[in-house]
Amino acid sequence: MSSWVSALGDGATIAQRNLIKVKRVPDLLVGTLISPIMFILLFVFVFGSAIPVPEGTSYAEFLVPGIFAQTVIFGATVTGSGLADDMQKGIIDRFRSLPIAPSAVLVGRTTSDVVTNVLVVLIMTATGLAVGWRITTSPLEALAGFALLLLFAYACSWVMALVGLLVRSPEVFNNVSFIVIFPITFIANTFVPTQGFPTVLRVIADWNPVSAVTQASRDLFGNPSLAGGSGAWPLEHAALYTLIWSVVLVAVFVPLATRQFKRSAAR
């Protein structure tokens, strides 16, 4: 038990260090903030002009939860690039030479990345409200929507942690994650309804957890899904499906990333 407590305490120390960095290099945060704002504006005004929406709703209401999902997942990649960077600079070696729990550095990293994601979500919420997106449900449901997004992103952080430790170079990590995450967040119901997809793509989209996160937050914010309901199980039980994915990712990738951390020594 006491080792758990000390792992959490050490994690907090390391999270604090990562957040100081965010504060000192605001460029980083500005970059992370500007791209979702840009996405919201581009999609609402460019795609929104061409995508038909039923009377009484707007494309913005459909879109914003999708952008939320994509953005928090990209936010989770910071975990991987941050660890790869620390590895390259020998800072991981320093941490590994200290008497701390092997998971502490990873706990700290993933925690600080959730904190920055919260900030990002706040900014995006403001932008969304400015372009006509509205929450029509109770505050409690809305909070649950945000919590679900952040939980899923947190689970993704642990996947990124493993990849970052394996790749060892922040540049390579960023290239790889960009190539992987773009299709994952686009072959989903994030930006357009999936009815028009070819069958194979549609099945992938239906079972893609990104679709479920998006669907669940749409439900919890009271936003339209624009689809007549595809009938796929993951989308009918979007919140549950998201929870299952989050739990499984954490259960699998926490031990894997921790094991990799113990092995990794910079050259």
Binding site: S6, R17, V25, D93
Partner: protein, 337 residues
Amino acid sequence: MADAVRARGLVKTYGRPSTRGRGGGVTTALDGVDLDVPEGTVLGLLGPNGAGKTTTVKILTTLLVPDAGEAQVAGVDVLRDPQEVRRRIGVSGQYAAVDEYLTGFENLRMVGELYHQGSRRASARARELLELFSLSEAADRPVKGYSGGMRRRLDLAGALVNDPPVLFLDEPTTGLDPRSRADMWELLQGMVRGGTTVVLTTQYLEEADLLADDIIVIDHGRAIARGTSDQLKAQVGGERVELVVDDAAHLDEVRSLLGRVAVGEVEVEPHTRRLTAPVEGGAAVLVRLLAQLEERGVHLSDAGTRRPTMDDVFLTLTGKRTDGPAGADDEKDGAAS
């Protein structure tokens, strides 16, 4: 006296060859290294790049697990209880592992907190070390603006946060300018006087000569020689006669003349027109040589005797000069110490 560090038969191979691996397969980084470091002494691990020095340090500091062998540091088994070893050591790696975006103070305080010193004590210790390492003025500035020497000092300070009885320094002065290097040496000598046991790797012979009580020369993953710097020098023979001829045309003539009195090989550096040879009887031999050369009308621009340097030791043992940039050239006056 008890050994602060003891290792037997350390072996480490890397399964995946590095990008410049020789023909693929397995690279043997360490091939059975033993070492003993009595408390309060300094061991210098000397060798060229890729000899296995860093691998040795990584095993002793729990960062790497050896394929074979065993090691104890500060009385604790490295393989059985790495966490306890970590409480008793300080490590400063090959490059300054400090966080650029944190201030010097924040870097050290964080390390203190990770040693579970508590935030008040961690802060006090951080200030104390910053003072000791002449970083007080820069303490509250982000490390990004620090010079290479300042970063190194901060990194070394990080290794001392917990007052460890055993300190591991991997090439502590590589990449530093001569002035910063001299500052670093002074700091290290201060710590050793305070009773800290130090294991230090270096490519600089001068550094090993100056700081280490005992030296192990490592090459290709093996310890090829060990002893005090005097013992190692004795091992490669006595004094050297060094001659620099005015005219390169005389090199061959002087070489054969030197060869007759030398107790080892005559070394010739054509571009500097310098000849060096180990001899017995130093000054007397030199005087005779000078007379002979005078007779033959060979003019010299420099002549003298010197004691063997670590560079000579390395050359004799491995057949090659050190890779370190400080190697041959800085070593000229090394014997004066």
